[in-house]
């Protein structure tokens, strides 16, 4: 079959959102921002009769015609796009002018544009005829998913089911497509109604270990399923999803959740359904006198007695109340209560432990800190500062470097493996949206303090939902109750001065019993 669209060859410039025949030496005019949704049109370009011998579907395209690229051009363009990546390992040398990019100064503009294009490989979906497709390599899972998302966009389908697609990575470019999703409004007696999209993203049963930061910028995201992946941590950005109604993170390798996830339970949030378990969460180890209570609780849990009549607080006569908990206002649907924390881990500039407990990888529980614990930094107080280390300043500059993905190729050959790992980490963190100090809100790359806080995060059970105490529903709620009474949240700080506040210790002899 002939090319689907015999079009002149133009180069799409993602920066200026315009086309140019040849950008070199020319100032590109940027087109005005689009004021309306891209037009849909169909192709009737090849009217020869043999196209009509079989049933034929009209091809639909979204956007203006000049966004579409013929299939054969795509393959030739791709070979160009990949060319810059094959460049040989450069020796480490200073590039004084590499930080500045002038759109008008000519010679190397093309190369930069191609690199940009290859990085945001957000290739507009080009439908291939069967003949050309079989000659090409098999598409990656992510490419297949991009096509699927594009179909959802065309159909206005808000439910993006990417479950069991063998995904190991998911790029920001792929997710960015979803920000343009507009549902097709239903026509009721000739009247169009405008709809806010309610995006649902199902990523269950893949092999994901990290998430693209753009996912947390989808403020219309209402359902997110990450069930059955390989996550060991979730990005802190997940707390930004203020319209999320359902979140499923069960069956991963999560030892803790980001502290920022508490934002999903504030009084302005919408979260209604949360699936946390099973995950190998860090368990707290209380001092011996509380241990007896805990074992009793476990016994009750095992034989399915649940929490009937159990004391709400089991910290003996002393109950600690986090100031954080008081400062915030929580959603009435959720019971969100600080329980305990570990001692603070103080980390050196490069992330090695300087002082503090080990969070080991086996399933052994971690001792909780005393309610009166005051964190003691490894050095004397006088040497402490909130100023970032030079190491952090440099890491930050690396993170903002326009060529971050290729920075490792500029490292000298004899650099320790540590630097390669470090730069790869920086890239993963940047892609997943970065992190802020949970004490002073400063952006950081390398944390200097970290500790785990255990919080009870449990849904307030509606009374009339438990008609019968003997019903299985009742028992299930109780099991969840026990598990969700100790959710480990990882808190990180940007300096050795960013440590937990002192908790208000309340002499509380009265323990609330049900």
């Amino acid at each position: 079959m002939a090319d689907e669209l015999p079009l002149p060859r133009l180069r799409w410039d993602p920066v200026t959102e315009s086309f140019s025949k040849n950008a070199a030496g020319k100032r590109v005019r940027s087109s005005p921002p689009a004021s309306s949704d891209p037009a849909l049109f169909s192709s009737d370009d090849d009217p020869s009769a043999d196209n009509y011998t079989q049933e034929r579907r009209k091809k639909k395209f979204r956007g203006p015609w000049y966004h579409q690229r013929p299939a054969s051009e795509e393959s030739s363009q791709e070979s160009q796009e990949h060319a810059p990546e094959k460049k040989s390992r450069r020796t480490f040398e200073r590039q004084f002018d590499s930080g500045v990019f002038m759109g008008s100064d000519g010679t190397d503009v093309d190369e930069v544009l191609e690199e940009l294009e290859s990085r945001n490989a957000m290739a507009l979906p080009v439908r291939h005829s069967r003949g050309t497709q079989s000659a090409r390599r098999l598409p990656t899972p992510e490419e297949l998913v991009q096509g699927q998302i594009q179909r959802c966009l065309e159909e206005g389908n808000e439910s993006i089911d990417l479950s069991s697609r063998g995904l190991t990575t998911l790029s920001n470019a792929t997710i960015r497509q979803l920000a343009t999703l507009t549902p097709i409004p239903p026509v009721i007696e000739g009247v169009f109604t405008r709809l806010e999209p309610k995006i649902k993203v199902f990523l269950a049963s893949n092999d994901l270990t990290s998430l693209p930061g753009e996912l947390f910028n989808l403020d219309r995201l209402t359902v997110l399923s990450l069930r059955g992946n390989q996550f060991e941590e979730l990005p802190p950005g997940i707390g930004k999803l203020s319209n999320l109604k359902e979140l499923n993170i069960s069956q991963n390798s999560l030892r803790s959740l980001p502290f920022e996830i508490l934002d999903l339970f504030s009084d302005t949030s919408r979260l209604n359904s949360l699936n946390l378990h099973p995950n190998p969460f860090y368990q707290p180890q209380f001092p011996p006198d509380h241990e007896a209570d805990k074992q009793e609780e476990e016994l009750q849990y095992k034989i399915g007695l649940g929490n009937r009549g159990r004391a709400r607080h089991r910290r003996g006569a002393v109950c600690s109340v986090s100031l954080e908990q008081r400062r915030r206002s929580w959603h009435s649907q959720w019971n969100v209560t600080y329980q305990a924390r570990t001692e603070v881990r103080y980390l050196d500039i490069n992330g090695t432990l300087s002082k503090g407990p080990n969070f080991c990888n086996d399933s052994s529980p971690i001792p909780v800190a005393d309610a009166n614990d005051t964190p003691q930094p490894p050095t004397s107080r006088g040497d402490l500062s909130r100023a970032p280390s030079l190491f952090e300043v440099a890491l930050n500059a690396c993170s903002r470097h326009k060529d971050l993905p290729h920075l490792t190729s500029w490292l000298p050959d004899d650099s320790p493996e540590f630097f390669f790992d470090l730069l790869r980490d920086v890239m993963v963190k940047k892609d997943s949206g970065g992190s802020k100090c949970t004490i002073c809100q400063r952006n950081f790359i390398q944390p200097r303090t970290e500790w785990i806080e255990w919080w009870e995060i449990a849904k307030v059970i509606e009374r009339n939902a438990m008609a019968s105490a003997a019903s299985p529903l009742r028992q299930m709620e109780n099991e969840r109750d026990v598990l969700e009474s100790m959710v480990p949240l990882m808190r990180r700080g940007c300096s050795w001065l960013c440590v937990p506040e002192k908790v208000a210790v309340v002499e509380d002899a009265v323990v609330a019993t049900e």
Binding site: R386, A387, L390, A394, A397, L407
Partner: protein
Amino acid sequence: MASSSQNQGLSKYVTLVSMDGFEFVVLREAASVSKAIARMLSPTNGFKEAQDGRCVFGEINGVVLEKVAEYFYYNYKNRNREDVPDMEIPPELCLELLMAADYLDT
């Protein structure tokens, strides 16, 4: 740290020398934020650097060492501040500064 070194008659300033021969004279107290420099300059360790207050860095060039010295003052100036401004460094120096920071332990 500074007061103890002054008591022992050590100079208030130290000289940092780059591999290509550039010299930067900085406040001893400010430079001591680098644990590596603090070790070199500590009189108890008996290094030559402690006597003449001169540290030669055979692996750091002048452009990078200048930024290092600038960082020492940035850190010194902001050591007691609650909200510390960001320090900007040119992107093309980021890798060399990263390795210098790792070497200087700062």
